[in-house]
Structures are given as structure tokens and as C-alpha cells.
């Protein structure tokens, strides 16, 4: 059943550019980007059991990498931008990870939050370097070396870029699937379930947490760079702590203990946000209420609801 549903969903997103209106297609682009971000975040939270409240740092890092390369250095190849975003994220995540993974639970959450806000206030205050609250523009990139100059902005986004983003999401999903299913992924789950026992059977707990942190950061920055292309802007609010909170919200909405939870969460969150925002100016209230209901009654998220296995694993 699950396989049929997955196949249908894949078919639907592939065929969407021919049938769906452009507006909804442009909505799918951030959903793809957030899907990649959340795949990484879920390796940290769902698989390893570490709740980061500063993951938006890496999303912002990716977006600002894209901005610096396109606007600042004139590098327009999206492949180069994504590689640079991944590299920058790894570079930042190594020292941060070494510090953060020494702590768990609430301390890990607070330390990541502090780092995220450190980056935010850097972006916000160092106007000459980062553009301050106005941010930096992200120019239209080349896809596989092609400019698609004959296409308008929206046509470019819902045409070639749509498939580019979708393909990237597919690759990211496959990579993450391999990671989670590998012995490495198994070790991470063992750490989540019982760190002491995992250590006792020879798993190097800190080192594995560190690896998970770096991988999550790379996914975050790649997603962030991809996110910045349709919005055309990298601004400091991407690093703000409420953005990190929203990332965790999406994850919880989709279902953190299911491999595809991140993808479902990103898609549902974006579509829901669009719907609620068009209905009321007080969408934050509605979203807060939804989050409260999810946390209290359905901690396993939407996919947890569909899951026939009884019992809650929260």
C-alpha cells in the first residue's frame, strides 16, 4: 500500500508542471528545498535523538553562500553553488559539532540556539559584509551550464528549475536512505535508544553524533541554497531562532520516526501555510494551535497517524 502511494506521489510531482497552475508549482519549490533540509535535521532528531534549535543557521549559510557567489563573485553555476554551500556547511559544522555533541537534550538545544543567534546577529549587524536586514540578492543561476535566457522568471522556476530541484531532492532522499539503512545509521539509532548501552557495545557515541551533526548541516546548507533561488534573496531572518523552531515543527508535523516524514512535513507545512495565510492574518495562531495539537495528541505526526503499528513512541 505504502509503495503504491509513494509511486503515485512521485508520478504526481513529475507530471505537475503540465497540469498544475504556476502558482502551486512555485509553492512546491520551497517544499522541495525544505524537504532536503529536514532530511538532514531528522538524521539528528529522529534518528540520533538530538533536538537542534539552531538548524536554521545552516539554511542561512547555504542561502548566503548562494548570494555571495552569484552577486558577489559572479559564479552562476548552480552545481558550483551547491558544492560551495555543502563545503561551507561542513567547514562550519566541524568546530560547532565538536562543541555541541558534548551535550545532549536541553543543553544541546540551547547551545545550537545560541550558535544560530550568534550567526543571526552577525548577519544582521555587519552591514557592509552581509547587507544587514536587507540581505543580499541571489541571482538566477545556470543549471548544468545552461542559462535558459529565453524563459521568464516564473517559467524558469516552474520549468527547468522545478525538475532540477526535484532531482536534487530525489538524490538527497536516496543518499539519506543509504545513510539511515547503513550500519552507521543503525549505530545512530542505538545511540538514540540507549547511549550507555551503545557505548558499552563499542559504539563511539560522540564521534557518531558528530558525524550526524555534520551530515545534517550539509543537507541544511544545500537545501538553503536551493531555497534562496526562487526567493531570490538571502536575509538574516533565515537564521533566526523561530525559523529553527519552524523546521522542527515541519518535522514533527510529517512524523519524525518515519523516513519520509520530513518530505511530507515540508510539503504539508508549505501548502498549509499558504492556505491559512490567505484565509487569515493570524496564521501564526492557527499554526501554534496545530503544533500544540500535534505535540499533545499526535506526537508521531501525519505518517504516524497512517501507521498501523499501535502505541506511541514519543
Amino acid at each position: 500500500m505504502a509503495r503504491t502511494a509513494g509511486g503515485l506521489a512521485a508520478l504526481a510531482v513529475l507530471a505537475a508542471p503540465w497540469v498544475a497552475p504556476p502558482y502551486h508549482l512555485t509553492l512546491l519549490l520551497p517544499a522541495f528545498a525544505y524537504g532536503i533540509v529536514l532530511l538532514g535535521l531528522n538524521l539528528l532528531f529522529g534518528t540520533t535523538g538530538l533536538l537542534s534549535f539552531g538548524h536554521a543557521l545552516f539554511v542561512a549559510l547555504g542561502a548566503y553562500t548562494a548570494a555571495a557567489l552569484t552577486t558577489g563573485l559572479g559564479v552562476l553555476h548552480l552545481e558550483a553553488i551547491l558544492a560551495a554551500a555543502a563545503g561551507a556547511a561542513a567547514l562550519v559544522a566541524v568546530p560547532l559539532g565538536l562543541l555541541c555533541v558534548r551535550y545532549v537534550k536541553i543543553y544541546f538545544g540551547m547551545l545550537t540556539l545560541a550558535f544560530g543567534m550568534l550567526f543571526y546577529s552577525f548577519l544582521y549587524k555587519f552591514y557592509t559584509l552581509t547587507g544587514g536586514d536587507e540581505g543580499i540578492r541571489v541571482l538566477r543561476p545556470l543549471l548544468l551550464g545552461r542559462a535558459f535566457g529565453d524563459l521568464g522568471k516564473v517559467e524558469f522556476l516552474i520549468g527547468p528549475f522545478y525538475y532540477y530541484a526535484l532531482a536534487l531532492l530525489a538524490v538527497a532522499t536516496l543518499v539519506m536512505w543509504r545513510v539511515v539503512r547503513s550500519p552507521f545509521g543503525l549505530c545512530l539509532r542505538a545511540i538514540r535508544e540507549n547511549p550507555d548501552k551503545a557505548a558499552a557495545v563499542g559504539v563511539s557515541v560522540r564521534r557518531y553524533r558528530f558525524y550526524a551533526f555534520v551530515i545534517a548541516a550539509v543537507f541544511g546548507a544545500v537545501g538553503g541554497a536551493l531555497l534562496a533561488v526562487p526567493t531570490g534573496l538571502a536575509d538574516p531572518l533565515l537564521a533566526y531562532w523561530t525559523h529553527s523552531g519552524n523546521l522542527v515543527f515541519m518535522l514533527l508535523l510529517g512524523g519524525f520516526d518515519h523516513f519520509l516524514g520530513p518530505l511530507v512535513g515540508a510539503l504539508v507545512f508549505i501548502l498549509l501555510q499558504d492556505t491559512v495565510m490567505s484565509l487569515t492574518a493570524y496564521w501564526r495562531f492557527v499554526f501554534g494551535a496545530i503544533l500544540a495539537v500535534v505535540v499533545i495528541f499526535f506526537p508521531r505526526g501525519l505518517l504516524g497517524l497512517l501507521d498501523p503499528r499501535a502505541g506511541r513512541s514519543a
Partner: protein
Amino acid sequence: MLGGTFHAAVLFLVAAGLQLVFGVQRILNLACGSFYALGAYLGVSAVTWALGAGLPAPLFVVVLIAAGLALAAIGPPVERILRTIYDRDESFQLLLTFALVLMFEDVIRFVWGTAPHQLGSVYLVYGQLRIGGSTVPVYNLVVIAAGGSIALGMGWLLTRTRFGRIVRATAENREMSEALGVDMTRVYRRVFTLGVALGTVGGALVIPATAATSEMGIELIVEAFAVVVIGGLGSMRGAAAGALIVGLLKAGAIAVWPEVEMLAVYVVVIAVLVLRPAGLFARAAA
């Protein structure tokens, strides 16, 4: 210098609320910034109304504090919502308080709109003092005194009263105090309401000096976090010391190099977390 202490006094109130709730309920309440913002808005409305009704201007502080205390009435219902997840993983508790942050932000927008609310006219009602070449509004000194006396009052409450002993016992060992006949539901409700009151009074006291904006809550919560991390989670003395450190650090940074104002605070937070994760003042009372 005194500006920093003024900010520290307000910050202490919010952080003390955070500490109290964390110490007893083990919940890191992100929404305490929202209580602060609510207190600020209600403070503006209450004072504007009271002045319109003919209240002599110098009495506005009383109205502010009363507004803050009245708002503590939202404590019990909010605590009721949180009660559903006391036995869950702390990640979920944190997320539920994040949900509250989102909701309260829009409650404020709904009631007071998006424009900043100001209460400029009464700020200088007590006049200004010249201290060492700089002028200080007397109101700032009033708030510093109020913060200090509330800190002393909290110390007295926690160490010298029956309620305080129960609270500390609960923070120390929940099962044991429950076994000794402490009504946990009631203690939790009271502690949480007290925590809310500290936040709302803090918010109400700050607004003569600054405008109330709908973002003030989510901005302050990060600073309050910094305070509790520096001071040590769950420690009241830590909250006071942390608030002073953060307040003075910010004031100093603004004077020397304004760009690094918050940067400096986060650097200290990270340094403390890395070098002394338990905080500079490890858990003393509650």
C-alpha cells in the same frame, strides 16, 4: 552603566520566571518572553486608561504592577495545557511552549494591532538625576529598586516560607515530596503562575522606557536564555548574576562597539556552556 542595570533588572524578572518553572517543572518555557510582551501591552493600555480616568501621573507605577499581576491569571489555564506533557520527552515540552509563542504573538497582534505602542509621557514624571556627568531618569532607579526588592522577596519566599520549602523539596525530588503528601498539581499551578507573574510584571515595568512591539517577546526570550545559561539553569542567584552580566555586557558593548552588542552576549553564553555547562552558579535554591 545604569542603563545596563535597568535592563538587567527587567531581564532578571523574566529570567527568574524561567528559572522557577524550569527548577520545579523541568520545562524550559520559551513562552516566558510572550508573557513579558503581554505584560508590556497591557501595561500601556492600563496606564493610558488610568491617566484618562484622572489618575495622578506619579501613581502610574502602581497601575503597571497591578496590570502585570492581573495578567498572571493566564497562568493556570496555560499550565493546564502544559500538564498534558509533563511525562514526555523534553523536546516535546520545548515544542509545545514554542506553539504557545506563536499563538501569543498573534493574540497580541489581534488585540493591539501591529503598530508599536508607546507610553512616552510618563517616563520622565519623576524627573532626572545627574550622576557623575550623565543624566538618569529617576524611573530607571525605581525599576532597579523594584527588581532588587523582588529578587530579595523571591529569596525570602523560597527559603523562609512553607510554600518555598515545598517548592524546593519538589525541585529536589518530585516523587519523594509527592509521597510525603504534597499536592503536586497545586504546587505546579502556583509555581507556574508565579513564573508568569514575574514575566508580565517585568514587561509592564519596561514600557515607560521603550515601545511595546509584537516582536519584543521573541527577542527577549533569547536574552533570558542567555541569562539562565550564564547563571546556571534553575538557580535564582544565578538568574540575578546572569541578568547583571548580560545587562552590563550589552551596555558596555553599545558604548564601545555597537555592532557586537548581542554577539558579545552569545559568545559569553557559548563560552559558559562549553567551559562550565552547569553555569557560573550551579543550582543553589530552586
